[in-house]
């Protein structure tokens, strides 16, 4: 169980939340939205690889025939 990816996602979530707070306090709502979008896309790229690995693992475990 590789826990590093969880830590990376959690850290990125906190960093993006704080930056989003700063940017929206500074009155740059559009840039804050773009920042959130970028964070979501980065995390989605990681998660897609993870889910693909999981489905491959399921296939190898149950491929007995």
């Amino acid at each position: 169980m590789d826990i590093n990816l969880i830590y990376r996602i959690a850290g990125l979530g906190i960093v993006i939340a704080i930056l989003h707070l700063f940017l929206s306090q500074a009155g740059r709502e559009e840039q804050a939205q773009m920042l959130s979008l970028a964070g979501v896309i980065i995390v989605l790229l990681w998660i897609i690889q993870l889910i693909g690995q999981l489905f491959r693992d399921v296939e190898t475990v149950f491929r007995w025939w």
């Binding site: 169980m1 826990i3 979530g13 995390v43 998660i47 007995w64």
Partner: protein
């Protein structure tokens, strides 16, 4: 045992972290949830492989040709994947998507199980003239 302890501990930390993230960036909270679920299920696959190997050995010892065990294992794999996807969709606040995933999983299992049903009917057909 050790696996359960690790997963439970990490799940506790993730639960606290999720309550922190959910107010500010709900989409990243969902991503964290998906990542943890995928990792935990992936970690549970290792012990599951031993069970599958044991079933395969039992099937060989009983003289089976592996066709029926293959059907059972395929149905198990479909059920696991469908339950995982449905639960993720439900956590994301889209229960109808989860229900669709579950429905497709049920249909897939049904299609997988049809050869067993046909084999059962064949066996009955061979048995019936012997009785009458």
């Amino acid at each position: 045992m050790e696996l359960v302890g690790r997963v439970a501990g990490v799940a506790l930390v993730i639960a606290i972290w999720l309550s922190l993230l959910r107010g500010r960036t709900p989409e990243l909270a969902l991503a964290l949830l998906v990542a943890f679920s995928a990792l935990a299920v992936g970690a549970a696959l290792g012990p599951l492989q031993e069970v599958v190997k044991t079933f395969a050995r039992l099937d060989r010892a009983a003289g089976g040709n592996g066709a029926y065990l293959g059907v059972v294992l395929r149905a198990m794999a479909i059920a696991y994947v469908a339950a995982f996807g449905a639960q993720i969709c439900r956590d994301a606040g889209q229960p109808s998507l989860g229900m669709t995933v579950e429905l497709v999983g049920k249909v897939a299992i049904l299609v997988t199980a049809v050869p067993v049903f046909v084999a059962l009917l064949d066996a009955l057909w061979r048995l019936l003239p012997a009785i009458t």
